[in-house]
């Protein structure tokens, strides 16, 4: 088996991974740094993000305001020191990206334009039409091409993290093109593999979002944090789950039930006005909007569509000119995938799994408790998003924590002596044998990848959806345990070496089952309702017991073990989360004032 080595290895080539790579190269140009990704970097899911990236730059805005919006949006589960660092670094990262060529939309005088976004009190969301993630990713990818010392492993799938002496020593990976497996030694590894939306059946997420990095870390002994907090985006298209950006609501879109009624006014989100009001109605936080949909459905006021219940997103009053200049991609998606024109027609939408607040536990420097292992982006949980993420915070998160991870990993690698190549090789050979035994030899197994995957998705949707109960979660957890057993009996149609996508999907399924299990168990243990985690058997927020992150470790018997870690509060003591009310400044300034 071949063995290569680098100082820093970055798993995942999306926004966070590419930003981390640049940070490593700039921190110490003599370090050997590589990005390893199961897809070519420009295919990473960052590419699908539409709405925008928040950063304080306009007069009248302040870091305190952005921090308060984020912390209250997160239902006080955010670590406030991390949020304070994040809001401070976001604008400079977005500016750095502008210097690298990102085509941010502009005001007539040439300055960066900003727009309103859900849960934000001020206009601070930078945007590149409604393809912000696409432009950010392509800008980052094209900029990395400048750095000739940056190596890439395109279409390599990491199957395992190698750990020795309590430190990460590298990875084992499959080169898709040839099927060959290889150990790659590294003094520091940064996980930037994104979220895990594909553990649910209905998601905005691409096929590749299978929680790989979360499972890799979990299996290596690093804990996952806040896995019970799964974000449903309020407006996805009914059959495909394709995202219709929140920007449609920032520009003034309305959500209406079957009676043409703006129903959010019944859910403590303010009173309907013709123009959008910040932190009110359709610009409320995503968890509250998704929950309102479920309640409307229970009342029988949603519209019955061919793919289940929907509500209507009305953009007609925005006019063709605004839609074409601010929401051209939305118009394209609706025309193509719903056969309708938002200029004239109502858009059917429903909540769709979109983002994972939880992930690999890191500190504010992107370091996990496992030596040499870092994580940034959606795969990580710092936590700046707490129990519910505000729209347009995750794109700057990629940049801020991608950069932090790169710098921290570079420093760590610079201080390390050489890694233990012998151990890496031995472990890598074991991993190669494991995969060959389980998947590539002929077996008498009967299970199909797609069958097990669909059953897992169904179990999570039923047991760990927008509203959960202890019973539903226990059922989901048991079902997943059974599926993990059945996985051992899997049989692949494809046992070839060359670009074996079925093998990859089986390995992804392994990862997804681990991640799904941590979601169910973490949700089961949290007997309160907060943000995106809603228990109908425990409906109140309980700051006495649960102003804390859940940490889930893989136990010796492969069962998840949940413990708690208190949230870091600096200036904003927990208060009531208020939207749509004039008195929402309650608690806004924090005990220490500013």
């Amino acid at each position: 088996m071949d063995l290569t080595s680098h100082d820093v290895l970055i798993v995942g080539g999306g926004g966070a991974g590419l930003r981390a790579a640049i940070a490593v190269a700039e921190t110490n140009p003599r370090l050997s740094v590589a990005v390893i990704s199961k897809v070519y970097p420009m295919r990473s899911h960052t590419v699908s993000a539409e709405g925008g990236a928040a950063g304080v730059i306009k007069p009248g805005d302040s870091f305190e305001d952005h921090a308060y919006d984020t912390i209250s949006g997160g239902d006080w589960l955010c670590d406030q020191d991390a949020v304070e660092a994040f809001v401070r670094e976001a604008p400079e990262e977005l500016l750095r990206l502008e210097h690298w060529g990102c085509p941010w939309s502009r005001e007539p005088d040439g300055h960066i334009a900003v727009r309103a976004f859900g849960g934000m009190k001020k206009l601070r969301t930078w945007f590149a039409a409604d393809k912000t993630g696409f432009h950010m990713l392509h800008t980052l990818f094209q900029t990395t091409l400048k750095y000739t010392t940056l190596a890439r492993y395109d279409e390599w799938f990491v199957t395992k993290l190698l750990v020795e002496d309590g430190r990460v020593q590298g990875v084992v990976a499959i080169e898709l093109m040839s099927g060959k497996m290889q150990g790659i030694a590294a003094k520091a590894v940064i996980l930037c593999t994104g979220g895990c939306g594909r553990v649910f059946p209905f998601t905005t997420n691409a096929n590749i979002k299978t929680g790989d990095g979360m499972a890799l870390a979990y299996r290596a002994g690093a804990p996952l944090k806040d896995m019970e907090f799964v974000q449903y985006h309020p407006t996805g298209l009914p059959f495909t789950g394709i995202l219709i950006t929140e920007a449609a609501r920032s520009e003034g879109g309305w959500l209406m039930n079957k009676d043409g009624y703006r129903y959010l006014q019944d859910y403590n989100l303010g009173k309907p006005e013709p123009k959008p009001v910040l932190r009110s109605m359709e610009l409320g936080p995503r968890d509250r909007l998704s929950q309102a949909f479920v309640k409307e459905t229970e009342k029988g006021r949603t519209i019955k569509g061919p793919y289940g219940d929907v509500v209507h997103l009305d953009l007609r009053h925005l006019g063709e000119k605004t839609i074409n200049s601010k929401l051209p991609f939305v118009r394209e998606l609706c025309t193509k995938y719903q056969n309708l024109d938002p200029v004239k027609d109502l858009i059917p939408v429903r909540p769709v799994v979109h983002y994972m607040m939880g992930g690999v536990h890191t500190d504010i420097h992107a370091a996990t408790p496992l030596g040499g292992l870092y994580a940034a982006g959606e795969v990580a949980c710092v936590s700046i998003n707490g129990a519910n993420r505000l729209g347009s915070n995750s794109l700057p998160e990629l940049l801020v924590f991608g950069a932090r991870a790169g710098r921290a990993a570079a420093e760590h690698a610079s201080a390390q002596t050489s890694s233990r190549d012998g151990t890496v090789l031995a472990q890598a050979l074991d991993e190669m044998r494991r995969i060959e035994q389980q998947y590539l030899r002929g077996t008498s197994g009967k299970e199909r990848v797609a069958t097990l995957r669909e059953e897992m998705q169904k179990a999570l949707e039923e047991g760990a959806g927008i509203y959960r109960t202890g019973t539903s979660l226990r059922l989901a957890a048991e079902k997943i345990r059974v599926l993990k057993e059945r996985l051992k009996n899997i049989s692949l149609d494809d046992r070839g070496r060359t670009f074996n996508t079925e093998l990859i999907s089986a390995l992804e399924l392994e990862f997804m089952l681990d991640v799904a299990e941590t979601i169910a168990h973490s949700a089961l243990e949290r007997t309160e309702s907060r943000g995106a985690h809603q228990r109908t058997d425990h409906t109140k927020r309980d700051d006495q017991k649960f102003l804390a992150h859940s940490l889930v470790h893989r136990g010796a018997d492969d069962a998840p073990r949940v413990t708690y870690l208190p949230v870091t509060i600096t200036r904003w003591p927990p208060a009531e989360r208020v939207y749509g009310q004039p008195g929402e400044e309650k608690g806004a300034k924090g005990a220490a004032g500013h």
């Binding site: 897809v39 070519y40 420009m42 295919r43 990473s44 899911h45 590419v47 699908s48 400079e92 500016l95 750095r96 502008e98 210097h99 690298w100 060529g101 085509p103 941010w104 939309s105 502009r106 007539p108 005088d109 040439g110 300055h111 960066i112 393809k131 696409f134 432009h135 392509h138 094209q142 900029t143 091409l145 400048k146 395109d154 093109m177 691409a206 096929n207 590749i208 059959f239 495909t240 394709i242 995202l243 998606l333 193509k336 995938y337 199909r448 990848v449 797609a450 692949l492 149609d493 494809d494 070839g496 070496r497 060359t498 670009f499 074996n500 996508t501 079925e502 999907s505």
Partner: protein, 247 residues
Amino acid sequence: MAETIQLEVTRYAPEADAEPRVQTFEAPYRPDWVVLDALNYVKDKLDGSLSYRWSCRMGICGSCGMMVNGEPKLTCATFLADYAPKPIRVEPLRYFPVVHDLVIEMSDFLRKLEGVKPWIIRKEEKLIREGEYLQTPEQLDAYKQFSMCINCMLCYAACPVYGLDPLFTGPAAIALAQRYNMDSRDQGAAERMGILSQHDGIWGCTFVGECTKVCPKNVDPAGAIQQYKLSAAKEWFRSLLMPWGAR
């Protein structure tokens, strides 16, 4: 209305096959299914060994380009309804080496992209604390269309020049170069000129225009190339007539 549809799919497993062959599958016909949905049905339910690239399923990642009835298409944006009830032929993207079934080898494309230096080139950089480079909406419009490329390579599969001459830089790479050349913040046009004015650069293009026709994002690479030919020609004349001119 038929309830199923036939897919005639290219199969090729290098360890087993001497050359590609066609296999026919029957998939459900649904009016809101795209070709990708049918391929996923085949892979999930009928034959897990069918290999192809896909990710976002919403026409933005550029992964799922294939030949559908002989034309380069994004399979996530190509509806069964436009072909039903006739069978649909799905083949790997033309003019690229085939790796496995519908998966092609695309490293040549990556090299071409990299080769045009697709990043902001400046003599002097602004400091972060000095804020953004000002760029009006009109200045943004000058290159905006060229920045929309999703790297799906449909334009290469449509380009007969690339089919004959694999050294040709190709539509997407040239459009990307022009995206930077036209960006008011960039000062690297001269640097890119060297690569692009070579025989296999822009001058390889004979203005067939198929690239623009197949582009799913309206990038208009043919327009970018012609625009570039004009500026390259002007620059050539200028250097002839005014060799002492500062550049």
